[in-house]
Assembly symmetry: C2
Homo-oligomer: 331 residues x 2
């Protein structure tokens, strides 16, 4: 397998809506004080009020461009990576582009890639392959997620867990750079296909015949089954991932897991027996932001210099479907 | 730009639900006899009854595998290319895989790529790039679309135009083959972002606050504006597409346009002044099948031998968002 594509993260940017503390949610929904932190591991998160996915995504893109030396006109492709969306049609990337101040000026192609919570991890892999062929020099991946609207008020587990966020990452192909993308991989374990679902709102339970119902139209997850499946499959997934590489898990400087939940993150650390300093988390202050979680941690690690040039970084997570995915790169 | 990736379409398969004649629709909705054929150019199409996107997609994949020498275990990646879906979460590709008879047996990764009507064209380009790096040997792209549920009974234009269909195409990387992928490209023209839309059902008009409404939750298109924008941009898009290639539009043996509508197809033929024998259409008997239209024409052209090994084939179309896209390959 051909590896080491010269792809570099040159900048990132984020947009966060209004902060919502756990005590606000606990009071509103008659949960005991501290419930959220104890069970979900989340103390506060951000929830959209007036914002749309497109609005938040566009602000994140503009912020990433400001943090780079590039202008929008330098961008060859915009990938919207995520599971939540403003409209069933058109695709989210077209909408997000249209919300950019300069969106009308340039006919940059826009593509949606959805592997639910792994959408950024997958898009990073795909983008690096698209650039390796030189067709594209600069690609923006934007993950803008509003999961908060689809939360069931009767389900404290999910209600306290999820946050909204938008993050944009700019990738450049630079043959002279020491940064490179090593490998991306994913597997879909169909036994878990219905462990996480929003049933209503697609063709299966079309609105016309299925009026809004908190159970039908809200996000549902079977946390125990998810943990069990992750526990069963993650270790062998990563063993296989490193099998054909010159690196091992021990060579990785920074691991950025998907910010699933408190127990999910603990399982993760136990599975791999990793040094706590290596495993990055923002769950406590952001919750699970679906596909925006992993790039948000990347952005924050760049800002606070936990992720330094030359570091070997592993993105690793699970997603609805059920899939496990990883991307390994030298930052 | 690196071109000529050794990617070959080795087989395809389809699934079509129940046939619905235009006279049935005309009678049911008090349209004059022949209205559909006169205005939309559609005499009959297929509409899902008991089927879901996943069910239809799985049957198309199984049919494509039967038409090949491959088994499901030979497949390295399943891409669901399309705009319509069974559930808001998980992604359609996970659902489609789960509907395969052998879906549970293999942990094949599944990815959704959505550029609305251009999803197959984009996925073909992306898949060929993913295979060129040798990570994947065989990729299935499946476009399974049920647009019929989101049609407004008060809008005869869309009501008579759209059909449902699922098509799967198997791509293989074969360095010894004479088949190759030449180039893919897309541009997104944001001035047309709202020319085609389903407003309700995402985060913007969330179900909770917006009960089902025929206008809000149905597909809307401004046909005149779409035609105008296509007329303005398509010619220069294709001129630029061929600019850096050793081929011209005249070298193309078979053009497979997106099956937009009768007037859309006429505009297309007039714009390029193409030999009628070169431009393939199945609009009359299938309607506009969203992202499944182009691969359905490919499948039929292979079956009826209009598309022969060695032919240079151009896929070209427009999509909601508004985008123009093309993929050129030697079959």
């Amino acid at each position: 397998m051909k590896t080491n594509r010269n792809i570099k993260i040159i900048a990132s940017g984020k947009y966060l809506p209004k902060s919502v503390s756990s005590s606000e949610i606990e009071e509103k929904h008659n949960l005991s004080k501290g419930w959220s932190e104890r069970y979900s591991g989340v103390r506060s998160r951000y929830h959209a009020t007036f914002e749309s996915n497109g609005y938040m995504g566009a602000r994140a893109i503009e912020s990433a461009l400001e943090n780079s030396n590039l202008k929008l006109s330098d961008i060859d492709l915009i990938i919207a990576a995520g599971a939540t969306f403003d409209y069933p049609l058109p695709n989210q990337s077209s909408i997000t582009k249209s919300e950019l101040k300069e969106g009308l000026k340039y006919n940059i192609p826009t593509i949606d890639i959805d592997t639910t919570c792994l959408s950024f991890v997958t898009s990073f892999d795909i983008a690096s392959k698209m650039m390796d062929n030189y067709q594209y020099k600069n690609i923006i991946i934007v993950a803008s997620e509003i999961g908060s609207k689809g939360l069931n008020p009767n389900n404290p587990e999910t209600l306290t867990l999820f946050g909204d966020a938008a993050v944009a990452v700019i990738l450049s192909c630079d043959k002279n750079s020491e940064s490179f993308f090593v490998k991306g991989a994913m597997k879909t374990y169909t036994e878990g296909v219905y462990h996480t679902i929003i049933e209503g709102g697609g063709n299966k339970y079309f609105f016309k015949d299925n009026p809004y119902d908190e159970e039908l139209h809200s996000f549902k997850m079977d946390g125990m089954k998810l943990l069990k499946l992750a526990k069963k499959e993650m270790k062998s997934f990563t063993d296989e991932f490193f099998e054909d590489l010159d690196y091992t898990m021990e060579d990785v400087d920074i691991v950025i897991p998907h910010q699933t939940s408190k127990v999910g993150m603990e399982l993760f650390k136990n599975l791999y027996n990793l040094d706590n300093n290596k495993v990055m988390s923002n769950l406590e202050n952001h919750g699970n932001c679906v596909a925006a979680s992993i790039p948000l941690v990347i952005h924050q690690c760049i800002e606070n210099k936990k992720l330094k040039r030359g570091d070997l970084c592993l993105l690793l997570g699970t997603s609805a479907g059920f899939s496990i995915g990883a991307s390994l790169f030298r930052y």
